[in-house]
Symmetry: C2
Subunit: 229 residues, 2 copies
């Protein structure tokens, strides 16, 4: 059965960096499910008309067309009940953790690394990315990240809820990783893939958790092409 | 079977305001379990020697002596499996949400309301509280909250992960509340009990969620003595 994952990439189709695509990649790896990666770029929204969606990830799994990383996680648990579950108990707890990853981790990382991204994109995507992100931040991207070393302590402090758990637990899922981990890890993979900046201190419990995540499932994350790898 | 909950209170023993005690109160209400409230004050740590602990809440449930709000939730689910569960799936997800409540919600609220607390305490507790909190903040408590109206927007922005869930879900537990809700709601009850400040805007989804929480289990939270009630 054909399984394809449409993923955001840079000029190099192997450089997959979207946090949401990394959630889907890790979810598939957790289930032990292979897939073919279909490179997709920001300016190719129209290519996803078949999915009635304009953003990646989109998973094509046999007859199922599943856009959105959260829907993909739910689909995988429903379609492959014999594989390790991604979601345990009530889904809203995972939605909270995914919302925290987006509004705290990704938003904080964007202010540290956004200026590293344009150089990795093809010409059409670069023009789109710079214009849309400069509009969002209200200033040139180089200015957003100009004092990023000075911003690091505040970013690291914002990770305190994650730190409070992983200083005693191996994963947000407890003894084993689950979708809570992948939802947060996607943001860190985004930074690792596009930026040389070391966003975590080596003596931070969050760093140790990230190291464990990088090694999961045969090192699928650690071995992926990454500027910061 | 005797069930007693040692709870932090003000000069008025009915004014129970600790966020951790509210977690335990709501957990007991969720399970439909009655209890006798035993008033406890900051300077009575020695009274809890029987629990090998120096802070409340402490639950005495028949032969079981259970200190700490998280341990109380786990105890209640284990001891009363026939009542509605507080924890579903993996506990670490709840620990993350509780850690967020403590490090973001309670920490943010402290900077808004801490100066309202001393007037509610008895003489011994007031001296202890003012000294320990001024040491923590490094300045007089009145100074900490002097510009609290100006701090409100940043506090409200910090609630975004909660907002992202409860704008479409009734509770962090989904259709029904669970311990994720109580862990966060405890912080808001702390503010409501001790301060007249309206920390949430009336058009915020978080406010609507708080209203639902206040009405749960016969209005146990709404009907509790509160300065801001």
């Amino acid at each position: 059965m054909a399984r394809q994952l449409y993923e955001l990439c840079g000029r190099d189709p192997e450089l997959v960096f979207s946090p949401y695509c990394w959630r889907a990649r890790m979810a598939l790896a957790h289930k032990g499910l292979g897939f073919t990666s279909i490179p997709w770029r920001f300016t190719e929204g129209a290519n996803l008309g078949f999915a009635k969606h304009d953003k990646v990830p989109v998973l094509v799994d046999g007859a199922a067309v599943v856009p959105d990383s959260w829907a993909i996680a739910q689909h995988l648990d429903a379609a492959y009940p014999e594989t390790p579950a991604l979601l345990h108990g009530r889904p809203a707890s995972y939605r909270f953790i995914a919302a925290w990853a987006e509004s705290v981790v990704s938003a904080g990382l964007a202010r540290l690394i956004v200026s590293d991204i344009p150089a990795l994109l093809d010409d059409a995507d670069r023009a789109y990315f710079v214009e849309s992100r400069e509009k969002r931040f209200g200033r040139p991207l180089a200015q957003v990240t100009a004092d990023r070393e000075a911003q690091l302590p505040a970013f690291r402090a914002s990770l305190q809820p994650l730190r409070m758990v992983v200083k005693t637990e191996l994963y947000l899922g407890g003894e084993e990783p689950d979708y809570a981990d992948y939802a947060v890890f996607g943001s860190f993979m985004w930074a690792r893939c596009v930026s040389p900046l070391r966003v975590l201190a080596a003596d931070d419990s969050v760093f140790a958790w990230q190291e464990r995540m990088l090694d999961l499932h045969g090192g699928v994350a650690r071995n992926a092409p990454a500027v910061g790898g």
